[in-house]
């Protein structure tokens, strides 16, 4: 008997929105393309190679596991590709090629497939992969950074009035200029003896205190905005990331609450607490904090991951604030210069509890 000559009967509704899982995922990938282009421009083909390696490994790994589990292979939904790409975006361009490969395998296996695949993972697999790499090979993850063409890595170009070339700098000043990322510099500057020595070299001028404010001057912010500064592949350019984020917001794929409250919290808290010894509070500081590191990448592309964030609007606000708070806490007093990924991971873990706390009251129900 041929069923197809029968009418189709299905439950209401009989019309459907065009959005599917597949086009959501590939749209996010598309939104990351500007960042990838910028990264390739600044670090050369190696950045592209690392990114694609991560993405392809993730896809292959997912396909193999699904084959072994004898479940339908769904790698064309783009989620594995996205995970691999995001993971590679969290690695710097000088990293060995096996790093994104192993990271992607771990992210897909432990982060996703052991829980039954897309939709069930408790934390963002890409971030888990990054945390795994950080814990396993800290030397590769934090060392061997590659400078952007034609710029000091840390983005500090205003030490020129101390010395004309690097050899003339004292070890500390040298360290400052060659620091991997602006956030590393910020971390070093929390040591007052450090500042004292810089000041000494500058002939008693309060340079150390000004370095940080110097950092936040328009020029540095501009570097951060366009991306000719040290960092991970995906953190490269605030501009490129904002471009992608705008696309996602326009397409209604991500919701504004998490990024806004995440970035907003970092902004406000860095304004209040971000001041360094001797430098006081600068109006530019909050901008420095939100432009540097992985904040933009994290806030728009990773903290907005559907599966691992709260369901309700209030929940998302709590989530965003929590991420921002932890980020700034880790940046200012933690053991790492950057805290975006750990703060998102931590909030991912807390998500079920947030969901529980913010369970909405049905329309027309009154509080008991």
């Amino acid at each position: 008997m041929n069923k197809n000559d029968k009418l189709i009967v299905s439950p209401a509704p009989h019309v459907h929105d065009k959005t599917t899982v597949k086009n959501v995922m590939w749209n996010v990938v598309l939104a990351l393309v500007p960042a990838l282009i910028f990264a390739t421009y600044y670090w050369g083909l190696r950045a592209l190679l690392l990114s694609l390696t991560g993405a392809v490994t993730a896809v292959v790994c997912e396909a193999i596991i699904q084959k072994l589990r004898k479940v339908p292979i769904t790698v064309n939904d783009g989620s594995a590709f996205l995970t691999g790409l995001l993971l590679a975006f969290n690695i710097h361009a000088g990293a060995p090629i096996w790093l994104p490969i192993i990271g992607a395998v771990f992210a897909i296996t432990v982060g996703k497939q052991v829980f039954g695949g897309l939709g069930n993972n408790p934390v963002n697999p890409a971030l888990l992969g990054r945390a795994f790499l950080m814990a396993s090979w800290p030397t590769h993850m934090t060392g061997g950074w590659v400078a952007v063409k034609g710029a000091a890595m840390s983005g500090i170009n205003n030490l020129s009035h101390i010395a004309t070339n690097l050899e003339q700098l004292s070890p500390k000043a040298y360290e400052l200029v060659t620091s991997a990322t602006p956030l590393n510099v910020a971390k070093s500057l929390r040591d007052s003896s450090f500042i004292a020595e810089i000041n000494a070299q500058a002939g008693g001028i309060d340079l150390g205190g000004r370095i940080f404010t110097g950092l936040t001057e328009m020029e540095t912010l501009k570097s951060l905005f366009w991306g000719n500064i040290g960092g991970c592949i995906g953190e490269v350019s605030v501009f490129a990331l904002l471009l992608g984020a705008a696309y996602l917001l326009y397409k209604n794929i991500i919701e504004w609450r998490i990024p806004l409250f995440f970035i907003g919290t970092v902004f406000v808290l860095s304004f209040i607490f971000g001041g360094l010894p001797g430098s006081g509070t600068s109006v530019m500081l909050p901008f420095f904090h939100i432009f540097s590191g992985g904040l933009m990448l994290g806030a728009f592309f990773m903290a907005t991951d559907y599966t691992t964030t709260p369901l309700t609007k209030q929940g998302r606000i709590i989530f965003g604030i929590g991420c921002g708070l932890l980020t700034i806490v880790i940046r200012l007093v933690g053991g790492y210069p950057e805290g975006v990924s750990y703060s998102i991971l931590f909030m991912n873990v807390m998500t079920p509890l947030i969901d529980r706390l913010t369970r909405p009251k049905a329309f027309g129900r009154v509080k008991k």
Partner: protein, 196 residues
């Protein structure tokens, strides 16, 4: 016959870690290296053996209200003995096992076996049970430690077993690695069981 059965059940059928899921704290904490695993395993086995003997001997004379305190005192005594002897004669091991030696007291394997087995069976059987469980515990620890040490340090029992170019995966000897390694080993056990 039953003696042999009680002796061997701890190895696979009632393996304290993989089947009964008891005593996880030391399991995860000390399996950073094989030598630690062996040390912890033998210490726990010793305590288990002694306390099983004593408890099966005194099972008739302890009123239920103070049963747990009495058992725990017995266990704690042996643990303290192990602690002191180890400090005196195996100081390096003592140092690396650290806090977890006194914590053998609260290892649920020991109190669990005391309650579940020794307090209901005679001395001979309790000895068999203790040796079996102890061996099962030690072997499981060693197995986990083998994975963690090779992956995380590239060595086994302190000997380098991986090529020098291998960059050890540090996470394996850190806390998250402990959980994940054990998780995967258990999943593997489940898979083998299913196949059977």
């Amino acid at each position: 016959m039953t003696f042999i059965k009680e002796l061997t059940k701890g190895l696979i059928k009632d393996n304290p870690i993989f089947v009964l899921v008891l005593g996880l704290c030391p399991t995860l904490a000390v399996t950073t290296s094989v030598i630690n695993a062996l040390g912890m395993g033998s210490a726990a086995t010793f305590v288990l053996l002694c306390s099983n003997i004593i408890i099966s001997m005194i099972k008739g004379i302890t009123p239920s209200k103070i049963r747990i305190p009495v058992y725990i005192v017995v266990i704690a005594s042996f643990v303290t003995i192990v602690d002191m002897v180890m400090a005196a004669y195996l100081p390096d091991l003592h140092k690396s096992l650290g806090l977890f030696i006194p914590l053998i007291v609260v290892n649920c394997i020991i109190l669990g076996r005391a309650e579940a087995f020794a307090s209901k069976n005679n001395v001979i059987m309790s000895i068999a049970d203790a040796i079996g469980m102890g061996l099962g515990f030690t072997l499981s620890l060693t197995l986990i430690a083998t994975f963690r040490e090779i992956l995380g340090a590239g060595t086994w029992l302190g000997m380098r077993v991986t090529p020098m170019s291998y960059d050890p995966m540090l996470i394996a000897i850190l806390a998250p690695g402990a959980f994940i390694t054990l998780g995967f080993l258990m999943a593997l056990m489940n898979m083998i069981k299913e196949k059977k």
